[in-house]
Subunit: 172 residues, 2 copies
DNA sequence: AAAAATTATGTGGTCGGCCAATCAATTCGA
DNA sequence: TCGAATTGATTGGCCGACCACATAATTTTT
């Protein structure tokens, strides 16, 4: 291959061909995050759902009629994201919306009867996904992974937003 | 709140308000994946990059001129995704493309000189992201997390695609 | 009671990412 | 040699997710 003679503009060294961009954890999270989402997509596709929607539907199945703002808080998503998800879910018949009589700004959201049949299948799909994800790990390893992910979640949540109001915790 | 009387269509029990949808690991991966991506976005925004683009640029900075198909293989992304990323990166002046003289189907991609100045900043941003991510974890915990993420990656990769060509491995 | 701040939602736009389908160029096989 | 299969890249469409901004209704403050 003659490439690398004068066509290479930025080559700072030998082509390393390996893992560029240090940060084993970040790297792992990125890759696993994407793969996991794809796996979820695959499982949910047969149910007529897109990944992300399962959380929203579970909220509705669990809580019944709920204000959109409440949904946003629980899902910790951007309001505009939830608005658009609901528009699509409404059009696909999974969700119904109506104005909240108590507050003319608000919207009440609920799952349609039709959609309730999906609940079990979604739960089973999610179980299969979990199973597939942690296959080959011991109970102790699974617990440790969950715990470490929880720690990382706290790290990423802090300063980014307002997960648990720190309010002068152990340090300050 | 009077909701829950007759408006509740699917309520199968009490409003649990807690973590619906079992699967501690899956749940953690979803949340951490999203938070991590947002954190990356925040750090990269100042550099004029969107999350995901940093991997592509690192490939180019490292390898010089590269065929698009090679890029696709390394990034393990859908070809159409890479095509569109490159169109945007070209328009924003980070990347240049030209036909491959050796194969008239192929396209050679390289980073522009301008973009090379970003490399160090991207690497530093990525380091800060890693630091932020694993803050508070011991060395042992960090190593364990990376290891476990690697295992999960293998799980999710297998059957989903063709990461390491199995070709009659230890089992078959 | 009127003005100011906050809340609830929606719009428009941008990206990464996927799938399905297309088309040209190259390679393989009969 | 010539048709068939494969490879390289693109287009169009869809979704989740973000941001910035806008609007209406409610709450708070003065």
């Amino acid at each position: 291959m003659r490439a690398g003679s004068e066509t290479t503009e930025c080559s700072t060294g030998l082509p390393q061909l390996d893992c560029l961009l240090d940060g084993p954890t970040s790297r792992g999270i990125s890759r696993v995050g994407r793969l996991h989402r794809m796996a979820a997509a695959k499982l949910l596709r047969g149910l007529g759902l897109y990944p992300g929607q399962e959380f929203l539907m579970m909220c509705l199945w669990e809580a019944g009629a709920v204000r959109q703002s409440e949904l946003i808080k629980r899902l910790e998503l951007d309001p505009s994201t939830v608005t658009k998800m609901l528009q699509r879910l409404e059009q696909s018949g999974h969700v119904r919306r109506r104005p909240d009589p108590a507050d003319r700004r608000a919207v009440l959201v609920e799952a349609t009867e039709r959609s309730c049949g999906l609940r079990q299948e979604v739960e089973r799909a999610w179980e299969r996904l979990e199973e597939h994800t942690v296959t080959g790990l011991s109970e102790a390893e699974r617990a440790e992974l969950s715990r470490l992910l929880g720690r990382v979640e706290e790290n990423l949540c802090a300063q980014t937003a307002d997960c648990p109001p720190p309010e002068c915790g152990p340090v300050c």
